[in-house]
Amino acid sequence: MKKATIQLETLACPSCVQKIEQATKSLAGVEKESVKVLFNSSKVKFDFDAEKISVVDVERAITALGYEVIKSQVKDK
């Protein structure tokens, strides 16, 4: 299990948070309970199974929603 933090462009509306949260949760390999979208610091934090999904996949899903990814960080848990 790994822990990722994705820094996004500044989020402006709370409904963005809902969208990103839903989109991230719906990906297989992402630990649903761990998904946290921080509105004010515009970050997404979650745990995931590196064998099922990579951070790039999650980034792609978020970019597809129209939010720019600035950088991401992965750490072993």
Binding site: S15, K19, N40, S41
Partner: protein, 627 residues
């Protein structure tokens, strides 16, 4: 074109449109102005219709894309409501409304983003202080600049003058002075040499250091402070979680209501107006905005507030308990009163300093420090009289310095005035040191622990902010504690308290219905810190203090306490104002749509966007809060 490329082209197009949102907003504005001038001034219907219709289509594009993306992840967002409303108005050939609504929505979002960035600025300043690069010792023995993420524990790093220390580490070699303001709030540079600890985010003001990395990234003290503040600003109170749940069902409910209205009344205009005015904007954003601005203000002033729950509790506090006399006093005794019974004050001072230099008793230290630089004399034969003082010979004189018992032993006569002075000094809480030369009383000094400068005023401010009980619990004897309490105007003072007694006392207060804040240093009073409704640590950003408390006062600065309390009160009030504004606006809009005939989609959108800006601007006031 196969399916995959089509999908890709579409998504690139979508992103292009979204990235040009601000341009689109501007073009919409121009088209709307053009449309209205040609209609009202030149009476040219065709140009008017075309401009307004183009503005509507152009403007709704980014909104519709966002709506589509939201629906894809099963969220009925504001964008969905607005898109349906705009399409509805467009189909009714009401191009004025569709154009104005899209423009207002886009322009509102633009302003929201700008103002929101302002409310977040204080915390951004903090995170931007994080180090980004480091000079790391590579395998070939050369220091090379690398990104701070590439530094691991155990790496050897070089820090040059003016650079930020990239990690928490230990000095291997070199000397220098470091400004640790980002961790402790104290801006006086601290000297560092071999084996000194250094902290990430602090700045080397002079010298060069080689350090070994002990903790990196989020594990450093600075990293943890940032994480704490970031989580705090996004933490949710009970009320906020309720609003979140509420808004999750609220938008679909608005959609449902609009459909029902349309089915019953067959009035499309009314139905789409409902969609616009039902947007939950101000309600969802009002509370987080107050929260982030309040916590940001705190971070800027050396007050770390751990989340909105803490803000709620602290703002209602009525009892503050201080863990020991040392929190309110400086903690090192000083000469507070003195009286001489001789004309040769200089000579007596010289003798006294010479004698007291021989001792390392706290009272002796205070006297030496107080007398300062005087010509010292050679001391022959010193005798320490246990529990009384010290006797020595200087230049053939017998000098005794100590308490009243020592004077009695030395057969020193105490005049009526001297006795009165002694009584007076004792009454003000002094420990006494009397000095005799050749059996004659020459000087009397009163030494006591000083109240921290400004504490009295700070406590007054706390009282003004509505704190009813100010209590000190201390391990010191009751006499000392009573004196401090009297001088500071505390409501209660208890001496001879062990850590266990303190937490029991807090429990008692809480069972009587008081909301209790406990101020401690986080070292051996964690039970009380945890037990109190609000644990306030006066630790200079130490790990323990950060972990166990709800509020951290950086740099142990007592004067931040009234600021912290005032700020939480202001923030809590601000949240309530924003909730009232948001709910009020929706209620007024709803009432007017059914009860008046001036309400339409454009006005609803205008009021709606205005209310969002009002709550953001209201939250922004907190950034400037100061006592």
């Amino acid at each position: 074109m196969d399916h995959y490329t089509t999908e890709k082209t579409v998504s690139v197009l979508q992103r292009f449109i979204l990235s040009k949102k601000n341009h689109i907003t501007l073009i919409c504005a121009i088209l709307i102005v053009l449309g209205f001038t040609s209609e009202l001034v030149f009476k040219n219907e065709i140009v008017a219709i075309w401009s307004l219709a183009t503005a509507s289509i152009l403007g709704v594009a980014p909104i519709a894309i966002q709506a589509y993306q939201a629906l894809k992840v099963k969220v009925v967002s504001i964008d969905v409501l607005v898109t349906i409303a705009v399409i509805g108005a467009f189909l009714l050939r009401n191009f004025e409304e569709s154009a104005i609504v899209t423009f207002l929505f886009l322009f509102g979002a633009f302003l929201e983003q700008r103002t929101l960035n302002k409310t977040r600025s204080a915390i951004k300043e903090l995170t931007e202080m994080a180090p980004e690069s480091a000079l790391k010792l590579m395998d070939d023995g050369v220091f090379e600049e690398v990104n701070v993420d590439e530094v691991d524990e155990g790496d050897i790093l070089l820090v040059k003058t003016g650079a930020k220390v990239p990690v928490d580490g230990t000095v291997l070699s070199g000397v220098g002075h470091i400004n640790e303001a980002s961790i402790t709030g104290e801006s006086v540079p601290v000297g560092k040499k071999k084996d000194s600890g250094v902290y990430a985010g602090t700045i080397l003001e002079n010298g060069t250091l080689q350090i070994v990395a002990d903790r990196v990234g989020e594990d450093t003290t600075f990293g943890r402070i940032i994480e704490l503040v970031e989580e705090a600003q996004d933490s949710k109170s009970e009320a906020e979680r309720f609003i979140d749940k509420f808004s999750k069902y609220y938008t679909p409910a608005v959609l449902g209501l609009a459909i029902i209205t349309w089915l019953i009344s067959r009035d499309v205009e009314l139905a789409i107006t409902l969609l616009v005015l039902g947007c939950p904007g101000a309600l969802v954003i009002g509370v987080p905005v107050s929260n982030v601005a309040g916590i940001g203000n705190g971070a800027r002033h050396g007050v770390l507030l751990k989340g909105s729950e803490v803000i709620g509790d602290f703002s209602r506090v009525d009892t503050i308990v201080f863990d020991k006399t040392g929190t309110l006093t400086v903690g090192n005794p000083k000469v507070a009163d003195k009286e001489f019974y001789a004309d040769n004050v200089g000579e007596v001072s010289g003798y006294l300093a010479s004698v007291e230099r021989e001792s390392d008793h706290p009272l002796a230290n205070a006297i030496v420090e107080h007398i300062g630089d005087v010509p010292l004399s050679r001391v022959e034969r010193t005798d320490v009289v246990k529990g009384a003082g010290i006797v020595a010979y200087i230049d053939g004189h017998r000098v005794a310095a100590g308490n009243v018992t020592l004077m009695e032993r030395e057969d020193v006569h105490l005049s009526k005035k001297a006795r009165a002075d002694i009584a007076r000094f004792e009454k003000s809480g002094n420990s006494l040191v009397l000095t005799s030369v050749d059996g004659e009383l020459k000087a009397l000094m009163g030494i006591r622990d000083q109240i921290r400068p400004g504490v009295k005023e700070d406590l007054q401010k706390l009282k003004k902010l509505g704190v009813k009980n100010l209590v000190v619990l201390s391990g010191d004897n009751q006499g000392t504690v009573d004196l401090v309490a009297r001088e500071l105007g505390l409501t209660e003072a208890h001496g001879h308290m062990l850590p266990g007694d303190k937490s029991k006392y807090i429990e008692e207060l809480q069972s009587k219905g008081h909301i209790v804040a406990f101020v401690g240093d986080g070292v051996n009073d964690s039970p009380s810190l945890a037990l109190a409704h609000i644990g306030i640590a006066m630790g200079g950003g130490t790990d323990v203090a950060i972990e166990t408390s709800d509020v951290v006062l950086m740099n142990s600065d007592f004067s931040r306490l009234p600021h912290a309390l005032g700020l939480t009160k202001a923030t809590a009030a601000n949240m309530h104002q924003n909730i009232v504004i948001a709910v009020g606006v929706v209620l007024v809009l709803l009432a007017s749509v059914f009860l008046s005939d001036w309400m339409n989609m454009s006005i609803a959108m205008l009021v709606h966007e205005a209310s969002i800006l009002v709550v953001i601007l209201n939250g922004m006031r907190l950034l400037r809060y100061g006592l």
